[in-house]
């Protein structure tokens, strides 16, 4: 029932091996929708990680008190609470980012990544382990969103984090900041990751994984 991995593995697994986006394809809606700039990707990643950490803490602490039959509803109430906190916090202190993310901050509540981790992990493990797991998953999520945001921002706007780095000679590829650009970039990234993880490839190199 509860996880028996070493604490280090528990933390590391979310970054690469069980990365929520690259390996489990969870949380694709914010991944595809808000990564048209690196800033937005980072903000969305941080907000999601905050919600993930806080709900994991809460749910792993309450895991023996929440009745099994109503657990999903219970999880959603807890998640929604923290999403509201994140939403109001961003609106108060980072109004620009809050405006550019629009409805996607409230929509964190339906991010499968968060509910998935609660159902699969926090409801079965202690507080420490759950926090490690959530932190790893959150960092993995942030990395993917920022990488995706950087690639799309460079090609689609010629800048990184809002700073123009490509000169006037570069005509931005507008498609990259539109939805097709998100699908294309994410698809190529996942293909590269699968190619890298391909066991048959490591056999060719003479190593056993």
């Amino acid at each position: 029932m509860s996880s028996t991995l070493s604490l280090k593995t528990e933390f590391i697994k979310g970054i690469w091996k069980e990365n929520p986006v690259m390996a489990s394809l969870l949380g694709l809606c914010p991944t595809l929708a808000v990564t048209n700039a690196a800033n937005n990707g980072l903000a969305m990643g941080l907000a999601t990680t905050f919600v993930l950490l806080s709900s994991s803490l809460m749910i792993s602490a309450l895991r023996n008190f929440i009745p099994h039959q109503v657990r999903i509803a219970g999880y959603i109430v807890i998640i929604a609470t923290f999403v509201t906190v994140a939403d109001r916090f961003l609106a108060a202190y980072f109004p620009v980012i809050s405006a550019s993310l629009g409805p996607y901050i409230p929509l964190i509540v339906v991010n499968c990544l968060i509910l998935g981790r609660q159902e699969a992990f926090s409801s079965r493990n202690g507080i420490g382990r759950s926090l490690l797991d959530s932190l790893g998953m959150g960092i993995g999520f942030i990395i993917v969103l920022v990488v995706l945001g950087i690639i799309r921002e460079i090609l689609g706007s010629g800048s990184i984090f809002g700073i123009a780095i490509l000169g006037d000679w570069f005509t931005p590829w507008m498609v990259m900041i539109l939805p097709p650009g998100a699908f294309l970039t994410l698809g190529i990234l996942i293909a590269l990751a699968n190619w890298y993880n391909d066991p048959s490839r490591s056999k060719e190199r003479g190593t056993v994984s």
């Binding site: 005509t171 590829w173 507008m174 498609v175 294309l184």
Partner: protein, 352 residues
């Protein structure tokens, strides 16, 4: 029968092995070589002479008239775009071959066609860097991401063009006059296409310009006659299914004709619809792509009719003046479905 008859017949037999009769020359004899006593092969047992390179090079030949006219009308602009597009398609094909560890597929001509078709659909003033990008996208994403020639769902050249259209919407819809049609006192060289003129300014163009191609538009789409010459060559050699262009043009004509009959003032005539924009190029050279169009005869009719319907709807009610690219791409997406529903009966099959 008496018993004497049998011994009489027997003495003759021992003689024959001594003098083996030379067997008559059987034309089949050479099939029965001792080392291959029996040839076992699964179907197909009949082969045509058509190979992928042969078909592809014929399509290239069919594109010559349109390419020549593009060079005549747009001169150095056309030379630059066509050379850039074709060479980057070939280089991309070579690199992908290398990465995938397969044999070089440049000689089959398919990458050349993709590059050439893409070039013919671009506006003459388009940048060379953008052309190369679209061409590489067409080959790498449009063709090889799906598994290479024969596995691609969408026509690679059109996918490359769609990528450019989404990336650079303004340059992709900025048209220039052919050099042969520029007037000395015109202050600019940009000009709307006949379809754009009608859509945004309500001006119809003369049919003679649409036929000869002395109008603004993409490199290879302006002259209906040049494309028809190449297209009919393809149909005669049976390298393109005649049903697809016919049903595509017919459906465009009929659907736009209905609108024209309803209100001749607000909708262009069906003849104008037929000969303007990229319809001829699309109908003869892109919709007929063997890989991305249905294999059955009924499917071909459905494919063309659907494309024509979508085309007219986009042209009349969409935001863009031209819709050939999207109409063909959309029908490409439907092709597997059409193939499934038009599957011919097996011999003797009874369907429930």
């Amino acid at each position: 029968m008496t018993e004497e008859n049998i011994p009489q017949a027997q003495p003759e037999q021992p003689e024959t092995p001594k003098k083996p009769v030379k067997p008559k020359k059987d034309p089949r004899a050479k099939l029965y070589k001792p080392e291959t006593p029996l040839i076992l092969a699964s179907s197909p047992h009949f082969h045509t002479k058509d190979t992928v390179p042969r078909i592809m090079w014929n399509v290239v030949a069919a594109l010559v008239p349109a390419t020549v006219l593009a060079l005549v009308y747009f001169q150095w602009a056309a030379v630059g775009i066509i050379l850039t597009s074709v060479s980057s398609a070939l280089i991309a094909e070579m690199l992908v071959n290398r990465v995938r560890g397969e044999s070089f597929t440049i000689p089959d001509g398919s990458a050349l066609i993709t590059g050439l078709l893409l070039a013919l659909t671009l506006p003459p003033s388009f940048s060379l860097g953008g052309t190369a990008l679209g061409s590489v996208f067409a080959i790498v994403v449009g063709k090889h991401f799906f598994g290479g020639l024969g596995y691609n769902i969408f026509n690679p050249a059109l996918l490359g063009r769609a990528f450019l259209q989404a990336s650079f919407p303004v340059p992709m819809t900025t048209w220039t006059w052919p050099l042969t049609a520029r007037y000395a006192d015109v202050d600019g060289i940009t000009a709307a296409t006949p379809l754009g003129l009608f859509k945004f300014e309500g001006v119809t163009s003369e049919l003679s310009g649409l036929l000869t191609g002395n109008i603004s538009g993409s490199l290879g789409e302006t002259s209906a006659i040049a494309i028809l010459i190449g297209g009919i060559y393809l149909l005669i050699r049976k390298y393109a299914d005649w049903r697809i262009p016919l049903s595509f043009l017919l459906s465009t004509f009929l659907v736009s004709g209905v609108f024209w009959l309803i209100s001749p003032e607000s909708y262009p005539s069906p003849v104008f619809q037929l000969f303007s924009g990229g319809l001829m190029l699309g109908a003869f050279f892109m919709a007929t792509d063997m890989v991305t169009s249905p294999v059955t005869a009924r499917g071909a009719w459905i494919f063309g009719a659907g494309a024509g319907f979508i085309l007219v709807i986009i042209r009349l009610f969409g935001g863009l003046p031209e819709g050939v690219m999207y109409s063909i791409l959309l029908m490409n997406a439907f092709t597997p479905l059409i193939n499934r529903y038009t599957r011919p009966k097996f011999f003797g099959e009874i369907r429930a």
